[in-house]
């Protein structure tokens, strides 16, 4: 906490990245704002809705007969969700929401190129690590990243796929990322990282 600083007011879109659970997080010391995160990280294409993060926890109040108000309070569960709507209707993005297997067939003289998603009857949900990045410009004009990570998560389709010719909207893929405890790191759920200054030359 500190005195108010207008530079800390943040206004940015967000770029979403995704990798199989266990992937190393991008290191802010070497990966600049806007740069690819490397490793097995894949950028998750255009989005047609804002990236929204929702954190919820459930609390238990400790009450005693002697006082009207609680004497203590504990967190007894928590969850984090990241929601957006992807703008591209492709098999890989549907797979994120529904599961299944994507087969890619290259075009030949006899075959059309195609992506095929076969989905259904998959009880086991794949686990991912999900991150997103926004940027801000500091007082001397340098663009710096703000990153948010969910260490382990599952993804589900978070609404309808809408097909209509009656308005100017287009089909999006609504996704919800739901965090899981990172069992490899003391049950941590998420990480927020804001680069506040570049390296000193």
């Amino acid at each position: 906490m500190a005195d108010p600083v207008v530079g800390n007011i943040f206004k940015s879109g967000a770029i979403v990245w995704l990798a199989p659970a266990g992937e190393t997080l991008p290191v802010a010391d070497t990966i600049a704002a806007g740069a690819a995160w490397g490793g097995n990280w894949s950028r998750v294409g255009f989005t047609k809705a804002p990236v929204a993060v929702k954190y919820e926890d459930e609390e238990h109040d400790v009450d005693v007969e002697e006082f009207l108000s609680s004497v203590d309070r504990y967190k007894i569960s928590e969850k984090i969700m990241v929601e957006t709507v992807l703008a591209e209707l492709i098999a890989d993005y549907l797979k994120l929401g529904i599961g299944g297997t994507v087969t890619t067939v290259a075009a030949t003289s006899e075959l059309v190129g195609k992506d095929i998603l076969e989905a259904g009857n998959d009880a086991i949900k794949p686990k991912y690590v999900v991150g997103f990045e926004g940027t801000y410009v500091n007082a001397v004009g340098l663009t710096l990243p703000v990153r948010f990570f969910v260490h382990r998560a599952t993804v589900k389709l978070n609404g309808e796929l809408t097909f209509s010719k009656k308005n100017g909207d287009y089909t999006g893929v609504p996704l919800q990322v739901s965090g899981l405890a990172n069992t490899a790191s003391n049950g941590r759920l998420f990480k927020f990282e804001r680069v506040t200054a570049p390296k000193i030359a």
């Binding site: 207008v6 530079g7 007011i9 206004k11 879109g13 801000y136 410009v137």
Partner: protein, 130 residues
């Protein structure tokens, strides 16, 4: 907290932005200076046309700007509007938090002299300089 000079900030930003944008950029006027003629090439006039009420903190303010992008003909005026869009959409600086186009450009003609311009509006969020 001093209030940012939003028009000067935006004009200075656009003049420094490059991208092949004209350097004839004029703030706080909706018509070019008297020595301008479209034959000289594109020019941009911008004025604040409104915006949101002041933020609760007074730390930021959102202004809606009207841009008139003049050119010797309709294609040139619209091409300059696209250059403007390339440098201004999602723009950020130490003072500009974000910029977004509010409407698609419309090509119009000044009734007095027939000059062609593309009319377009952008919303720009500024920090007030502390």
């Amino acid at each position: 907290m001093a209030e940012v000079n939003e028009t000067k900030t935006l004009v200075d930003f656009l003049l420094a932005a490059g991208g092949g944008l004209t350097n004839r950029i004029y703030g706080d006027t909706d018509v070019p200076p008297s020595d301008y003629t479209p034959a000289a090439g594109p020019c941009i006039c911008l004025v604040v046309r409104g915006g949101d009420a002041d933020d609760e903190s007074d730390a930021v303010k959102e202004c809606s700007f009207q841009f008139k992008v003049y050119g010797p003909d309709r294609p040139t005026a619209r091409a300059e509007a696209r250059k403007l869009h390339a440098v201004l959409q999602n723009a950020k600086s130490s003072i500009i938090k974000n910029a977004r186009r509010e409407t698609q450009p419309v090509t119009l003609e000044e009734p007095e002299n027939g000059w062609i311009f593309a009319l377009v509006f952008y919303s720009v969020l500024f920090t007030n300089v502390s």
